[in-house]
Amino acid sequence: MMPDATHPPARRAAALLGRMVLGAVLLGPILALLLHASSTHWFFPRLVPAEWTLAPLLRQLGDPRTRAALGASLLTAGITTGIALLLGLPAARVLGLRTFRGRSLVLLVLFLPNIVPPLAIGMGLNVLLLRLGLAGSIAGVVLVHLVPVVPYAILALLGVFARYDEGYELQARTLGANPCQVWLRVALPLLWPGLAVAALFAFLVSWSQYVLTLLVGGGQVITLPILLFAAVSGGNPTSIAGLALLFAAPPAVAIALAVRALAAAAGQPARGMS
């Protein structure tokens, strides 16, 4: 078979498509929000706002409620990410490196919580958490976030392990590396890019939870999406846009960085992950 799949025009077209989608998805909404947030008078049918000012945006950032919500969001997403990686690494290793008959089944089941309406799961879990006294606490919110986050972490890590060759570890062992050295000097450098992507995925999925946080947090755990949605109900467009920008900017930056890192890695010749 000839490698016509590596046709440069096709590759270039794919890269261009990627950039365009990336641009549209990341920059479009943020630009719109930025326009909203920095304007005071912007009504149909004007294409750009009549006046510009950063004052509303800065006012939003100075609000202690906003800062508290930012803290709660960072804390929840951070802890959730850490636990999800710890749980996901061994699971993804088994699922990615071994092939057994029920594998596709296990994967489907793993992913169910993301497919099954989160409302149904959230409410089912809420009954449990209420009885455990964890409802309304960060711990409870983290526990509930793990339900959709762990599958994402496993999914991201699966891709890494699908290309991971245990032979490197075997090789290192016979060269005299003890298990700890094998992990630090061989497995970690090989898995590093994939781990970073998985952490990013996990963080973002947790960061953007709204329904589950609301259900389990019961109005006591106020994360950014909760605050944002409250503002949406309130109806002040400038305040909404400010919060939305705050909410969307860190993920956008993180993703842009990850994409650049991945693109750089893709430019290098074959490594542990390509």
Binding site: D165, G167, A172, R173, T174, L175, G176, A177, Q181, R185
Partner: protein, 355 residues
């Protein structure tokens, strides 16, 4: 120089399937190269992993110089594996790869530098310290993998089909290089291969493995010329085995009577084998000739292959010259006495492991 002794090694992966290795005992003399020859599924790679210590046998013992190494974990056995895939760490330079084993032992910077240079000279790739593995050709990668393995001064070198992904010219050069280095350093080596020619060309002795059992453990010349059993003969490329009644230096087969070298063997049922290139076609009867019909002639370049019908058996004969006889003339295949050798019937399958 380390002597390896394997005693009664058994290893099973699946509870109800036959074991990957059953009761294998082998000794490798210090400084020699033993080839483990077998098809996929013969257990040869399993044996290598057991010696390396990355897997443990269900039964039996593995000893280096008379001391069991079963309690020694893989990273302290100094038995280094080199795989078909060179497994050079992609995030390290060539020098860092070669120094890997020394670094995890805590060697000094100067020791590592000197050793890397020495090893690169040994594998005839001086001056490539700073290159990345991805910049090397397949053969160069294998040489670096070999250098990395030798840098820790291993007691035992374990080669798992190290040449099979290389094209034939590179493969031949690398085979010669490995043989030279192995002899120079006098390092006890196990080479796993499925390539008969490679095993015969490189090894001091060849162990023939088949479905987990050791069929033969011989010098290359003896194994090739006189495989001990039918199955071993088949694996060495012998296609003709004739069974008959042996009496007074004669084997009475269903195809005819052949003079054989009985050499004190008891009279009775016996099986004699002959290599396809040791038979010869003839136009007239002569001693040890059987009448045949030529079914097909195939030109394969280095040789001609003849498919013959003799009685109700088909024989395959290799010849270096075409057999030119008039069509419909009688044809005979000659089985020279000096090339007919006795083979044992195959041992029954090894007994199941006692529970």
């Amino acid at each position: 120089m380390t002597r390896i002794a394997l005693t009664g090694i058994t290893r099973s992966y699946l509870r109800r399937a036959p074991p990957a290795l059953a009761h294998v005992s082998l000794a490798v003399e210090p400084g020699t190269l033993l080839a483990l020859l077998g098809a996929s599924g013969s257990g040869k790679s399993t044996l290598l992993k057991l010696v390396a210590g990355v897997e443990a046998p269900d039964q039996g013992d593995i000893a280096f110089d008379g001391r069991s190494v079963l309690p020694v974990p893989a990273h302290r056995r100094r038995a280094v594996l080199v795989f078909q895939n060179a497994y050079l760490f992609p995030f390290l330079s060539v020098a860092e790869n070669i120094a890997f084993g020394l670094r995890v032992q805590g060697a000094s910077r100067a020791t590592m530098q000197a050793e890397v240079r020495r090893m690169l000279d040994l594998v005839e790739l001086p001056g490539i310290e700073r290159k990345r593995p991805a910049q090397l050709s397949g053969g160069e990668q294998q040489r670096v993998a070999l250098a990395r393995a030798l840098a820790i001064r291993p007691r035992v070198l374990l080669l798992d089909e190290p040449f099979s992904s290389l094209d034939s010219a590179v493969r031949h050069t690398l085979q010669e290089a490995v043989r030279r280095i192995q002899r120079e350093l006098g390092i006890t080596t196990l080479l796993v291969t499925h390539d008969r020619g490679e095993a015969l060309a490189m090894a001091d002795r060849v162990a023939l493995l088949d479905r987990g059992a050791l069929l033969a453990h011989e010098t290359p010349q003896r194994l090739f010329a006189r495989p001990p059993t039918r199955r071993a003969a088949h694996l060495m490329g012998v296609t003709t085995c004739l069974r008959g009644e042996l009496a007074g230096g004669q084997l009475r087969t269903s195809l005819g009577v052949l003079a054989v070298d009985a050499d004190g063997a008891p009279a009775g049922l016996a099986t004699y084998a002959i290599r396809p290139e040791h038979m010869r076609l003839a136009c007239a009867p002569e001693p040890n000739a059987l009448p045949v019909r030529v079914l097909a002639e195939t030109f394969r370049g280095e040789r001609y292959e003849y498919l013959l019908q003799a009685g109700d058996e088909t024989l395959r004969v290799h010849a270096f010259q075409p057999f030119t006889a008039p069509a419909d003339a009688p044809a005979y295949v000659v089985l020279p006495t000096e090339h007919l050798f006795p083979v044992c019937d195959d041992a029954v399958a090894p007994p199941a492991r006692p529970a």
